[in-house]
Symmetry: C2
Subunit: 568 residues, 2 copies
């Protein structure tokens, strides 16, 4: 039986680092050569990293990425490698801002040369994607390539999501196999969603599909890997690991006779391997949903810290669940030696706050410090004494405490290195229950897209094999501890209700009327919606965090700050 040996390099690249990315690619190519792969797939925009954003508007950057493609091609041997890069368009006129238009492209390199180039046809421009800003669409969706006698269709990411997109057309035109390279970011549940779509695509077109995804974190995005190979009945031949780098190869059985009289661009004229195909390696299972979120957070934070050159992180520990989970994720991402937990009690802190923080630090084996905010807080009150009556503890005094903490964490970061990680969750960030320049301080906010409800689920999951996060942290009612006997429930609806409203309002773009119809109290829904709307200004100054839902608070959701809309 004829088969094509297809290799995949599911690797973690760095946006902009053309030299390092090219080196990693060449390394993977050498490996593919060793395992005698006919084809090696590398991620979408592998050379530039994904997404390169406005770097693509720099002519010099595009030039250097093309130079890197030619260096990569020079290193290519018998294996045909499909590698993502930014191609300059020879035909499309500059955009109205005067930028030369470029393509999101896949280069086919083999035997020391660039043998062919495919341009992505379908450009996503919704959610986190801005590809119309950068790329001109390709105009050859049906292009086919002859690789060792096998006719292959090559496509890029979005191309395969649309039922009648380029891969379907390539199959109809005679492709024996469909090769699709990706930079497909994770959100909760996307692995199964993607697998169902790809299986359908293989089954409907009757052609095997090889899907190669990027892995790693880039600012708000995490690419989950989970590359997959499907036979022509839509069955999964192989599923690669989630949230890990992996080099894999699979012998993909081909139909007994390929299409004849198919016009394909000649790429390479080697012979297929003879004999029977090797059975594929054992597939990695789909991770459980909560586990997948947790691993996305670990990878997102870890890559942000490493790729930005930080030695470690500094985290304020309040004794509450958010900061505890943040510290655990950080320790899992960077090792305990990369995490410094700091508890900063005030006159309103419970003794449990310090004890629980210390217990957590001990459980994790991280560095731990206790720094009282009383001296600066008192200093602030003294400095401001002339301006107001100190008898009252209102939001101004509460925020001053949070800001004293923020300044202390930043001072530790400035003095010793290490990036501050903000600990806020999506529920708080949505309704603005957070202090700008206070607990929002930090270079990265790992839980920013996790609702409070999900934070508890993640904490319980992480504690599954023993208590890492102290029991009392999980059990105590959430509190900011910024005034006597304060609990979150004083200011907010219960989180289980709040989170269900927010899911509809923030992620679902539902109207107040629709949410009320789903069974929620109208006054509460209106109040929540108002809180979300009027706190856009805080979110605009928030640190980035890991996207794990279909709509994160960041580039995914672009609302005006100045916004007079009140549903009526």
């Amino acid at each position: 039986m004829d088969f094509l040996r297809v290799a995949g390099a599911q690797i973690d690249l760095t946006v902009g680092d053309l030299q390092a990315n090219a080196a990693r690619i060449i390394e993977a190519m050498a490996w593919a050569e060793e395992v005698q792969a006919d084809v090696l797939l590398l991620p979408e925009l592998a050379i530039t990293g994904y997404p390169p954003e406005d770097l693509v508007l720099r002519e010099g950057f595009v030039t250097e990425n093309i130079a890197a493609l030619h260096r990569i091609a020079a290193a290519a041997g018998d294996t045909t490698c499909v590698v993502g890069f930014v191609d300059r368009s020879g035909t499309v006129k500059p955009d109205d801002a005067g930028h030369a238009r470029v393509h999101n492209a896949a280069g086919l390199v083999q035997g020391g040369r660039v043998r062919g180039i495919y341009h992505k046809v379908l450009l996503p421009n919704y959610g986190v994607f801005d590809e119309d800003r950068y790329f001109a669409p390709g105009t050859s969706p049906e292009a086919l390539w002859e690789i060792n006698g096998v006719v292959a269709g090559v496509s890029i990411c979005e191309d395969i999501w649309v039922p009648d997109g380029p891969p379907s057309r390539q199959a109809a035109a005679g492709a024996d196999v469909l090769l699709n390279i990706n930079g497909s970011p994770y959100h909760r549940g996307k692995g199964r969603e993607r697998e169902a779509m790809l299986s359908e695509r293989a089954r409907t077109s009757g052609v095997p599909v090889v899907y190669l995804n990027l892995v790693g974190g880039q600012d708000e995005l995490v690419f989950d890997g989970q590359s997959m190979v499907f036979d022509r009945d839509g069955g999964v031949l192989y599923r690669a690991a989630a949230f890990e780098e992996e080099l894999f190869w699979v012998d993909v059985p081909l139909a007994d006779e390929g299409a004849t009289g198919v016009a394909a661009t000649f790429v390479s004229g080697g012979d297929l391997l003879e004999g029977e195909p090797e059975p594929p390696p054992e597939s990695h299972p789909h991770p459980d949903e909560v586990e997948a979120v947790y691993r996305a957070l670990v990878m997102g934070l870890g890559d942000y810290v490493r790729k930005n050159g930080f030695s470690g992180v500094v985290i304020g520990l309040s004794g509450g669940i958010d900061s505890a989970l943040t510290a655990v994720i950080a320790a899992d991402a960077l090792g305990p030696e990369g995490v410094w937990g700091v508890t900063m009690p005030s006159r309103y802190s419970s003794t449990g706050s310090v004890e629980d923080s210390r217990a957590l630090a001990t459980n994790l084996g991280i560095r731990f410090s206790e720094i009282s905010i009383e001296p600066p807080f008192t200093g602030f009150l003294q400095a401001l004494g002339g301006e107001w009556d100190l008898g009252d503890v209102d939001v101004a005094e509460q925020n001053l405490q949070a800001r004293a903490r923020g300044a202390i964490l930043m001072a530790l970061s400035n003095k010793h290195g290490g990036m501050v990680v903000a600990t806020g969750n999506k529920s708080e960030m949505s309704v603005g229950y957070a202090t700008l320049y206070g607990d929002m301080v930090g270079g990265f906010a790992v839980l920013k897209d996790c609702s409070k409800t999900l934070v508890y689920e993640l904490a319980r999951w992480r504690n599954r094999d023993g208590e890492v996060i102290p029991r009392s942290t999980l059990d105590k009612p959430p509190s900011a501890e910024l005034k006597p006997d304060q609990v979150d429930a004083d200011s907010l609806p219960p989180y289980e209700t709040l989170d269900r409203i927010l899911e509809r309002y923030v992620e679902g773009d539902a109207s107040i009327g629709e949410i009320v119809k789903a069974g929620f109290d109208r006054a509460m829904v209106i109040e929540v919606a108002r809180m979300v709307d009027r706190n856009e200004y805080k979110r605009r100054q928030a640190a980035p965090g890991v996207k794990i839902t279909t709509k994160a608070l960041g580039r995914d959701r672009r609302l005006p700050i100045t916004n007079g809309y009140r549903e009526g």
Copy 2:
């Protein structure tokens, strides 16, 4: 001679405030009826405000804006009104994220009804624009409308920027007049650029052009008005005011005989006014470039404060030029009673800092307070004493001072209302010479897109009729005053050099090599480029400011934080 009386409502609307916008539109329509206008032009997306961003993804919002269009139509009399709104598409399928596609539309309303709808064809998706994210392009670029026997082409903003765009095609198809409604944001020099393009469009097509622009501030954008009417030779019949609301009408002479046999949708069948056209009102002059920037800043800050419901602003006064200019702009935007200047000396402040701040406040007639940061600064050092040696004053101690100031300003804002205005300029923000959560604190950063060089020009311009900003503030060398005898020149190239490098690197996307070729020292260019690149994280957490250049630090410039690109 036949003429069309065209009215324009260059008005300041609020994004999202459908009720208030509709009321303002109906008011303008009543006025147009009174002056017997044949046609009234209202801004692009007048009903929703521009740009509505992701509000457009809310089905309920689109439904309400269409309901507003019908209320507006019900109020329409003899005058045909062209009003921007978001139209739902009957034909275009939902995008891949499942959102129903909508159009950026112009409704033609008259005699109590919606008589016609035009869909914008050319959708800008570069710079600050994301219209491909929201809108499906119109498919009837050549649509024509019969208004009182005159054949009109209607188009929206970008449509007219392209030489062979919809208006040119409408003219070729027989239009007697071209009506173009806009939400065209300001940048330096854009008024003249726009006028040259429009004059060329009128001259080439041989048809009068009426250009109506929005006015007012919306987050980062300021719309400068400067609506214009051109005769068919490209001559300016009328130029409306810059940065001010204005209702105007102009009798536009028509060619002796219109085209015949032209297929146009019937809108209204009234009679044109008889007799000779009234001469147009006297045109407003082009403002001087520096004056235009100043007025853009005043309008941008003023509208942000008012539309977000703040009673006034709080500004930290350092004695330096940036905070002085910020306070003057704020006083011009909000009146002196809306501005509170606060000087916050430390052990490193010169006596001049406090005196110059006080003199400025006196000149402006604003509220003034002096609050020493010594108590909280000492408190911070005491709290942190265990963590490091206090002998050294490095960036950690410098930032603590800036953060103490930031927290004090925020406390005054929290206690008394009033929004903090950040005072940083574009030079500092580009290279990261600013303290995150310190002097970057604020809801708005009015000078964010103004280079230090421009800040001096603006200050001198504002002082043209007498000293408002103290002489010594203008004369002293720029200094952060965070350690003994510190001046900016210790850490940065001279501003006149720095700004010329930044203009090329940030606004021009030039490569290091290109900048060096233009005559700059290679080591200095590399250092500046590195500073710009590695401070993206600070800018991501910065307050919005007024865009006044072709590329502002905000939605205009979208670079990854994690960015390994080093030109080489």
